[in-house]
Symmetry: C2
Subunit: 331 residues, 2 copies
């Protein structure tokens, strides 16, 4: 059986990341730890992330006719931007665990972790610039959108977003880098016009399906598969899409109780009994079904956009497999 998109470029990407993050300074070692190239003691490990974004860059580049190595630096730069955002996100959310290991800030403190993220950010851009100024410009624009999305997400801690606002936020916070993956592949291959439009449309649809699936797993995912406590999104008052929809659908006493439970000046986590009550309300109001319906719609949209790309049949099949995996994954 042929290797999937997430396997075929993995060694090359890890090599590129290792090169971009080389150096003796303690801060470099911390970055290699974060990306999964080293353990806490500095011993080599295999990267723990899916390498989704850089794999997409290289796959799109190759199947639109470019030599994938010409896109490697931009792919690595994109993964580094993703990595930088996770370091700062974990500080902002006080998340202690990232991919089953202690988050960077829990190891070196918030101050040094801010720095670690800053360094990964700037290394990302210098790496992408090695591909081309156009690739760097594309990555920088996506980074700006991602940061603005994160800013909106933080604002939504103080009030509940509408589902439209929420979807606009995730289009930026997580969608921007996924769209960028498809665009960077296209830039390496020198495509423009309709092909570029189809790439961006595919990226947008994949990004939405991916994030809504993520939100769904944060509530209904299985603990042992995901490597983090599920229901934790409820316990920690994360206002992901299911909660946003629940606020839109709940009425009467439920609406009042929900507002009280999610008031932003609540210091403590939601207790187990209240979390179970929230899950019951989500079931009662068919929120899970609504989320699954949205994922299906974006999944179908992605396949429509995929049909517009001048891929070989085989490349199209493999991309379809990936789109389906992202929309249905259990972790």
């Amino acid at each position: 059986m042929k290797q999937g998109i997430l396997e075929v470029y993995r060694d090359r990407i890890e090599g590129g990341l290792s090169h971009a993050l080389s150096g003796d300074a303690p801060l470099r070692s911390l970055l290699r730890y974060h990306i999964g190239l080293e353990d806490e003691a500095g011993a080599p490990t295999r990267a723990t992330g899916k390498m989704l974004r850089p794999s997409l860059v290289l796959f799109v580049a190759e199947h639109l006719g470019a030599e994938p190595d010409t896109a490697l630096s931009s792919a690595v730069g994109l993964e580094l931007i993703h990595g930088f955002s996770l370091i700062h996100d974990d500080i902002q959310d006080r998340d202690h665990v990232r991919r089953g290991r202690p988050a960077v800030w829990t190891i070196c403190g918030i101050e040094q972790a801010i720095n670690a993220g800053d360094l990964m950010h700037t290394l990302a851009v210098s790496t992408a610039l090695e591909s081309s100024p156009a690739a760097a410009a594309c990555l920088i624009q996506a980074t700006q959108q991602m940061i603005e999305g994160q800013s909106h997400d933080l604002q939504f801690e103080r009030r509940v977003a509408s589902s439209d606002e929420y979807l606009a936020m995730i289009d930026r916070k997580t969608g921007a880098l996924l769209r960028c993956a498809f665009e960077l592949g296209g830039i390496a291959a020198g495509v423009n016009g309709d092909v570029r439009t189809a790439l961006i449309g595919l990226g947008r649809a994949v990004g939405r399906a991916f994030q809504i699936r993520d939100d769904l797993l944060g509530i209904w995912g299985r603990d042992d598969v995901l490597g983090k406590a599920t229901g934790s999104d409820i316990r920690r008052r994360k206002k992901t899409l299911p909660i946003v929809l629940l606020f839109e659908r709940a009425g009467g006493d439920d609406a009042v109780a929900l507002s009280r439970l999610y008031a932003h000046d609540n210091e403590k986590d939601i207790d187990a009994a209240s979390a179970a009550w929230v899950v019951d309300r989500l079931d009662e109001l068919d929120v899970r079904t609504a989320c699954e319906e949205m994922i299906r719609r974006h999944h179908d949209e992605a396949l429509d956009r995929l049909a517009d790309l001048p891929f070989s049949d085989e490349a199209r099949d493999r991309m379809r497999e990936l789109v389906e995996f992202l929309a249905r994954r259990e972790k």
Copy 2:
């Protein structure tokens, strides 16, 4: 009398900053506040910073033969990198005041301030990229050095650096962006070889004189001129050059008392009596004189490098005035 380097380009730089930071999102407004283009309520103000770095870029560019507007985007990008670093530094140091106004994190919280710095960082690079890929690459490299210097500075909170280590740290933390100012001017003018070497040497010497002067003002500066409590560097256990030298020079009981006073697990600020004791030790061991001697040496080195530049006599005079101002300023 002719305008000095810090006055002549000011309007153009403020215009460029205003353009780079335009936009309705609350995060953009926060960035304009930080850079001094708006007050806390969002009303326009004049920028409060000296605009030293971008002024240097434009001056060097112009007097090496470039049209200064071709360097404006890189000059603005450099000032934005400086601004981003201050937002994150203030979080890391828990400094409440920046240029006489509340620091960004005290207004919007640490989480959103991390984001604000991240956005300014990425806007800086996209702005510099408008000048040229070479300018962006130069700025990115300086940013990496600055962040690594900041990382060393944070490490030195846990132990006392030697004066050599300290000087290597400030060469990165604050020196990198000042050197970059001179280099960006040279890049806009298309110079290479000896001229570029002289620019880098001038930037390095100016950077050292500037930072040592800063360290000196942090202890012996006058409160009303500086806009922050002096002696505050002692009260807050900042291990700036005078303290580093004091550790190298103190012996016997003084060394023991000093080590106890600066132990990194001390939670509270140093009390007034102990701070006065530190100032007495600094005087006794001629630390201020040693710092002033170092400033003079770097000042002289700067003038030597300046002599190597193909400036007009008038441009050389104006740069000499600035070098002297930076080495002797009272704030």
